[in-house]
Symmetry: C2
Subunit: 393 residues, 2 copies
Amino acid sequence: MKTITTISGVYAGSVAAGIKPGRDDLAYIYVPNAVASAGVFTTNKFKAACVTYTQKLMKRHTVKAVIINAGNANAATGDVGIRNAKRTGSRAAKRLNIPATEVAVSSTGIIGVQLPIDKIEAGLDTLLANPYQVDGMAAANAIMTTDLVPKHAYAEAIIGNKRIQVAGIAKGSGMIEPNMATMLGFVVTNARLDRAQLATHLKAAVDDSFNQISVDSDTSTNDMVLAFATGDHDVSPHDPEAVAAFRRLLTTVCQDLAKAIARDGEGATKLIELNVAGAASRSDARKIGKSVINSPLVKTAIHGADPNWGRVAAAIGKTPDVKINPDKVTIRFASTTVFEAGAPIDFDRELVSDALRRSTVVIDITLGLGSGRAQLWGCDLTKGYIDINTDYS
Amino acid sequence: MKTITTISGVYAGSVAAGIKPGRDDLAYIYVPNAVASAGVFTTNKFKAACVTYTQKLMKRHTVKAVIINAGNANAATGDVGIRNAKRTGSRAAKRLNIPATEVAVSSTGIIGVQLPIDKIEAGLDTLLANPYQVDGMAAANAIMTTDLVPKHAYAEAIIGNKRIQVAGIAKGSGMIEPNMATMLGFVVTNARLDRAQLATHLKAAVDDSFNQISVDSDTSTNDMVLAFATGDHDVSPHDPEAVAAFRRLLTTVCQDLAKAIARDGEGATKLIELNVAGAASRSDARKIGKSVINSPLVKTAIHGADPNWGRVAAAIGKTPDVKINPDKVTIRFASTTVFEAGAPIDFDRELVSDALRRSTVVIDITLGLGSGRAQLWGCDLTKGYIDINTDYS
């Protein structure tokens, strides 16, 4: 399987630092020749210390490594939390023999409890004794929380005669005992771009991927996506085709990771892919899509394999501040039109219901107003979700 | 038990019209001497025919009666649906011997299927053979869908030496086979107000009651709250104290009905009361409150009797477009402070957890920014919700 360490010049590995019992819980990614780095961070106003620390760092520096721990979010931990984030970065920098300003930190796990910083420092000494490990698999495993599967994505394309690669790992919205869901993503490429270019591409790719998934509408204090470029091959900023091709490649990898997260949502049994078209604007398409993909009634109907256009119509209609003309709305489940021009139409309910029993369910909504589009991913809502989030302690 | 027909000059009753098998499913409320009527309607852009019809009617006329059916929402039914709404109103008007413009209609149930209008017309002939029934209890029962209990509220106060009464019935967000949740409320008073005054009071009361509850964040095509005034006693519009007292009375009744709806939410085992204070504005307080009361993570934590301040903090922090200073936020569960000035504090977890096992759970949030307040009601999220909404067909 291809992962981040498939790309030459990208190193990663993990160790059991003792934060979580009986498994690896501390990972690193190291790109010694990184020419650019970029980050996208949670919009939650309660930001974890690692977010505050890393966000500040990345504004000014090209970061070459990130240390990620599971088991403790370092959130709601005050000044001590910030000091611990800094100590984590500094210790890793010392072991990697690079400036502390080149090491980001990322955490996921329990909130309101201080990091076991002694364990982390000791773990880093072991982990980074050899900083040139090529074990992206181990890193993807170590950052998991209630994720059932590790998440990898890889894509490549020939851009300007060069084989440009993009790869990533992620962890999903697993509930972290005892507090909240967090999404982390780490993406690497062998392309050469500057910091501003990478930041622009990452922002756009995240907007069309991680920002378009929803497991339960909750946003964490710790969400973070970081990108690193090794700089092996130029992607000319003056060639619009090359720039667009790179954007597509990065977006593909981010979407694959995002879909893997949605499919592995807590208690989920299937991935829902939602396509909204014909909205008055792109922003309207996104708002309507979020309203539908987050609707508990839609999510439970899909769980029950019920082509319930009524719930989809109601979720479209309840979206505030968007243009909707009910008489122009069309809804399709698994490519079968069930509601057209504002009215239900006859369809083979058994056939569509069978299609909704598959592991991926596609819903298409056409609004008939303009050219605004959005694609979103979510999952069904099941008793498994209730179990995980009620009985976690 | 006191209900709408406790108020002199208010008549109500029900009949089994055969829309739903084996129970009463058609009800009426009739206020022959009504001096004012007012309505608040769903903001969903997919409006049921009964909403379109009644909303239009109430803009121009003082309505004296409403016909309510369960079992069919008359939504997504096109022109035929509008004609059937009109036929329902006309038939009732004929039996009551009043103009058709004085009869509102209200429906709840399956969507996308035409009303069984013949059954409804025949049912109305039976139901209104005696239009002077005083059986508000029967009406509250007949409008239930998956509600487990009928919902009544009554309050009175001496205003300007007169005993002013307000009473109401409601049905809650029960899932209606096979489509969506609908909330209906009907309120009567013996006060004398004009249409504009009643409309203003009703809008304000609904804003502080029905609009502040949430079972699953879904808004129906059929939601409707109507109010009628018999006009027995003046409430002087020139006496600000009297006006305020009436507003409080009406709000109390609407809040009691709203709380009954939240407590009886699908699968719910407890009522959550959320108080937000110290927000920069009233609007901010409401937005933050909605974010918390709708959070699946908060709802499942409360179901598990877990004083999980982390999930509440995250739900506060994710609210878009509001002012929040994390360092000033305080969170209390069942009157015990668990998070203060942006940081967790020690508390007796067992004691608080015990309090969260009661049938009503109070959460207080203080933001420390201004004087904006809001009170909201919701319920926990359980496997019962998944059962009702997955296996309903």
